[in-house]
Each structure stands twice: as structure tokens, then as C-alpha cells.
Symmetry: C2
Subunit: 287 residues, 2 copies
DNA sequence: CAGGTTATTGCGTAAAATGATATATTTGCA
DNA sequence: TGCAAATATATCATTTTACGCAATAACCTG
């Protein structure tokens, strides 16, 4: 029972473009090409009319599209029906994320999942966001919430759930002026993550501006940055989502500094292999 | 798009017996066992309740049975619809059989096929029935009509279309008496195939009876046997189907000689591999 | 006609399926 | 109770299939 070819077909029918469709399916163009060819062989008709520059559904392809959608819906339906009946998808899923994420993104997801699969236990672990990918890769956690790293390991599947701008913040009191000139920058004390995606982006930003920042403190955890900035120790860089969920958000202000830093692409990570497990797959399909 | 697991499931749901179900699917029991396990993994529920002695559908299995049937029907339907629309399943299929078979069994099959797929050309070759299996195995012919040999090559799929008794015949004039005693047998001239399944069965029959027959002629082709017998040269052994289609059938008579020879199991042969081809598959599914 | 884009195809590698054999557990019968 | 038969599953070696990279060929655009 393998319905991947149907998904491939539908993806290609939507995009009419092998490159984009294959990317959407997380496969290579050649695999997609052959997947379609096999379908066509089994059906005995060609589903797409394609020259080297364009792709279009044939009349048979249009008919098959209906079938493919229905077939996938029905499979999904029987799957859910059976799972629902034996409410025993007993087991547990471990989820790792930062404290902030547990307040914001995670809440809705877990509520839905809990409602749908009440017998599945979720073990929630919070900690350093920068460890998230490693913990998933090594299999210590099933799922993690993390910002998408610049290059995603191939064995990781990522599902974006939102963008959060990376913003400069200063104390609300205004006791530290927004830096303008290069000179300002070299005088203003900075409070930065000691590592991680955010730190890398900030470093690149400074390099592009040819500024050597005066680093006052390097800390672990965005929440700590907010604390220190609110105390007037310097200006910092945090994802806006952290501010939205911080009790100190009225003690700091977002600074209008350009160019903007590239936003965080926050989403869920899971090991590709684990998507075969019914539990993990059930979770993933709720997204 | 692989629906084999569904067929496996349905087969097991019918028989509730791994051995018989796997035989029906032309796979080994272990393959069937794993096929079911994989389905259950994907669904997250168990479809059969089985101890080491019995197999039974679970309540989920019963629901899934409905789904499986429908899914197969729908797949078959879209397949036929698409094929029918593009009446171009253009291509050709080569069929090999004996002259007799071309008169009897083949007629109905070809008529249905021609009606369903008018654009497929059928190349019909007639010849020695004993070569049929070899021609299919070597790929020289797509499909052949043949009696099922005592042991079928594993790569050949056989579909029975009828039994034809293997009968002793003598001249209608009665000028040759039906042999009774061992002595009679050693005096009566026999006209036999020089090789082939029929000849083997006859040889075994004589061996079991401890008779050494007096062989008058060994010929190629059952039609030739009928001719010689009708001329009164001896008694022979042919499949009854040959008589039914022979213009000489009133010149010979069937002799009441016991024990009966095992009947021919006549059917179609195809190379397992070729069933993947849409043309061959279309033909095969009409049976 | 040149340059870039894009579906397809060869090919080497990795993963999966398959069937023969072995194992464990249960049932039937003595 | 103990022995034998039956049978679903596990293991392993082999074959088959899938996958992605890189190269190819065909086509559009300027």
C-alpha cells in the first residue's frame, strides 16, 4: 500500500513543473519523473503532455486527478476512522522546545493533538533552542520546535509554523540612544546570544555593515537578553516572539534599525524516518 | 501506487489462513505475513487477531475490508475508464496455441478482447502444443494456450480455462477390439504422440499397468493421431477437445478403458514479468 | 544563433522486498 | 501428560527496486 505516486501526481498536476513539484514532495526531479512514468505505465495512458519546456495535463490526466484526490481522502479517512475507534494509539511522543515556544506556538498544536488523540502521552521538554536540531537528529527527542537553520540536515523534515522578526531592543526608558553612525555602534554595549542561529545572523549583519560591535555580555537564552536589556545594560537582539510572551515586554522597546535582520522561520522538526511511525505521523498530519 | 497489500489483505480476510491466502496471491507465507504487518503499521491498528492456530478479523479489520474492496474497485474503474477513453492501447500481443485450441478455447477469449480493446493487434501463431511453454518462457510469445505441465516453471503464471479428458480412441468401424487383458494390450497397435505431456501420461499409465505396449506409430500432433486411428491403423490417445473439433470425429470412437487417464488442464500461460505490461495485463484481466 | 532552462536518462549506491529455512507456540490425539 | 502436527512469525541471503547525482537532449527566449 503505497500512495506516494498519487501525491507526486497531484503535486505535479498543481504546479505543472517537475522542479517545484519534486521539491514540494521532498524528492529529486528524476524520482518524480520516474514516479509519473510508472503511473502512466500502470494505467496504460499518459497523464501529462510534456515537452522540455512545459507540462500540461492530458484529458486522461484530468480524470485521474479526481480519482487521485478521492483515493487519498479515502485512505486518510479509513486511517483516521480506525485510529479513532481503537482510541489506543497508546504511546508517547517527546517534544522539545524553548520556554518561549511552549507559551506561544506549541499551545494550539498540543491542544488539537490532545483533543484528537487523548491517549497519546506527550512528554514536553524545554531547553536551549540551539540544541533542538541535534536532539532530533540524534533521536533523543521525536519532535522539536526550532528556527530553521540556514542549512537543514537532509534527514530532517521541517514544517514552518510562522515567521518571527529578529529585532533590536533597547530599554524602554530610552537611556541608551539608538545607534546611527559607525561610531555609535562601536560605543553601544551589546547583549547577544553566545551562540546559535540568532547570533550568526547578528554577526553577519555587523560584518556586512563593517562594524565591530562592543559586546557587553554573551548570554544563553533569549529571555535573559530581555532581562538584561530591560535593566539598561545595553541593546540586544531577540526574536519578536520572545517579546510577545515576555512579562518584561513593557520594559523594553523595539529599535528602528535598518536593514532588518532576516526573520526567524520557526517550525517543527522531525526525523524523516520517524514519520513512518503511526504516532509521529498522526502528530505531523495535524499540522 | 502499489495495491498488492490490499489484495493480500482481502485474500487473507477470505481464507483466514496464511498458507492458503499466500498461495492464492502467488507469494510465500512470510511475505504475506509481513505485508499484513506493514499495513497494520501504517494504519496503527491490528487488522487480524491471530494466535498460532487461528486467524480472525478484528472489528477494525472488518471496517478495513470494505475500504479495501472499494479501493480496488475504484482503481480498476479509473484504469478501465482511462484505457477506454484513449482507445489507443495500440500495440500487439502474440498468442501461441495449437490448431485445435484456436478453434475451441481461443475463440471466445479473442472475441471479448477484440471487442474491449479493438486497437490492439493480436498475432496468432499455431503450432506444436508442446513448444508452448518454452516459447512463453523464452519470451518469443506473450501468451500461449497449453495443458498445464506436471510442474509449472515458477516464472510462468497459469490460468485454467477448462479440463479436457484424455481418452483412448479406436476406429468407429470397430475393426480393432478394445483391449482387455495384458495380452490384448501387447498385441494392439498404438498410435501415440512422440513426446509431450500426453505421451508422458500414457507412458505412466502403461507402466502402472505393467504393460509394454506395441507402438505402431509415433506422430507429432493430435490431429494426426485422429487421422491414423480413423484409418484403422491402431488405437490412440488424444484430449477429447481434439475430437470435439475434428472433422473426423465420426470416424473414431471413444473406448471405455479404465482407469481413466488424468485429464488435461488446459489454460493460458504468461510470463509473470509480462503481467506488468498494460497490454498483457488488460488481456489477462479479461479472463 | 547563443544561452539558459528543464524534463529525461545512465549509472552507482542504498534500501526494500522476497523466499527458503528456522523457531516458538498451540492444538489434537494417544 | 506427552508427543506430533500445524502454523504464524523471525532470520538471513539474495534479488529486485528505488533513489539521487550527473550528464544529456530538447526547447524557449532574446
Amino acid at each position: 500500500m503505497d500512495l506516494k505516486p498519487l501525491q507526486h501526481f497531484l503535486s505535479l498536476a498543481e504546479t505543472l513543473h517537475f522542479g517545484r513539484a519534486s521539491a514540494a514532495c521532498h524528492i529529486s526531479p528524476s524520482t518524480l519523473s520516474r514516479s509519473i512514468q510508472q503511473l502512466e505505465d500502470k494505467l496504460g495512458v499518459s497523464l501529462f503532455k510534456r515537452d522540455n519546456r512545459s507540462v500540461n495535463l492530458t484529458s486522461e490526466g484530468i480524470k485521474f486527478e479526481k480519482y487521485a484526490r478521492e483515493a487519498l481522502v479515502q485512505w486518510s479517512a479509513i486511517r483516521n476512522e480506525l485510529m479513532a475507534e481503537s482510541k489506543e494509539l497508546k504511546g508517547e511522543i517527546s517534544v522539545y522546545c524553548s520556554v518561549t515556544a511552549s507559551y506561544s506556538f506549541l499551545y494550539d498544536i498540543l491542544r488539537r493533538f490532545r483533543h484528537r488523540y487523548p491517549s497519546i502521552e506527550i512528554k514536553l521538554h524545554t531547553g536551549d533552542p540551539d540544541s533542538a536540531i541535534d536532539l532530533v537528529t540524534s533521536g533523543k527527542e521525536d519532535i522539536a520546535i526550532s528556527a530553521r537553520p540556514d542549512q537543514l540536515p537532509t534527514e530532517i523534515r521541517f514544517h514552518s509554523i510562522g515567521l518571527s522578526p529578529l529585532v533590536f531592543i533597547g530599554p524602554a526608558s530610552g537611556e541608551i540612544e539608538t545607534p546611527q553612525s559607525l561610531n555609535d555602534w562601536s560605543r553601544t554595549p551589546m547583549i547577544l546570544s553566545e551562540k546559535g542561529i540568532g547570533r550568526k545572523r547578528v554577526d553577519r549583519w555587523f560584518t556586512a555593515k563593517s562594524v565591530k560591535p562592543r559586546i557587553y555580555a554573551q548570554v544563553a537564552g533569549n529571555e535573559a537578553i530581555v532581562s538584561m536589556v530591560s535593566l539598561g545594560l545595553g541593546i540586544g537582539v531577540v526574536p519578536q516572539i520572545v517579546l510577545d510572551n515576555s512579562p518584561l515586554s513593557d520594559k523594553v522597546q523595539i529599535l528602528d534599525i535598518k536593514p532588518w535582520l532576516a526573520a526567524y522561520d520557526v517550525g517543527l522538526c522531525v526525523l524523516e524516518k520517524k514519520l513512518k511511525s503511526p504516532l509521529i505521523q498522526a502528530f505531523w498530519e495535524l499540522l
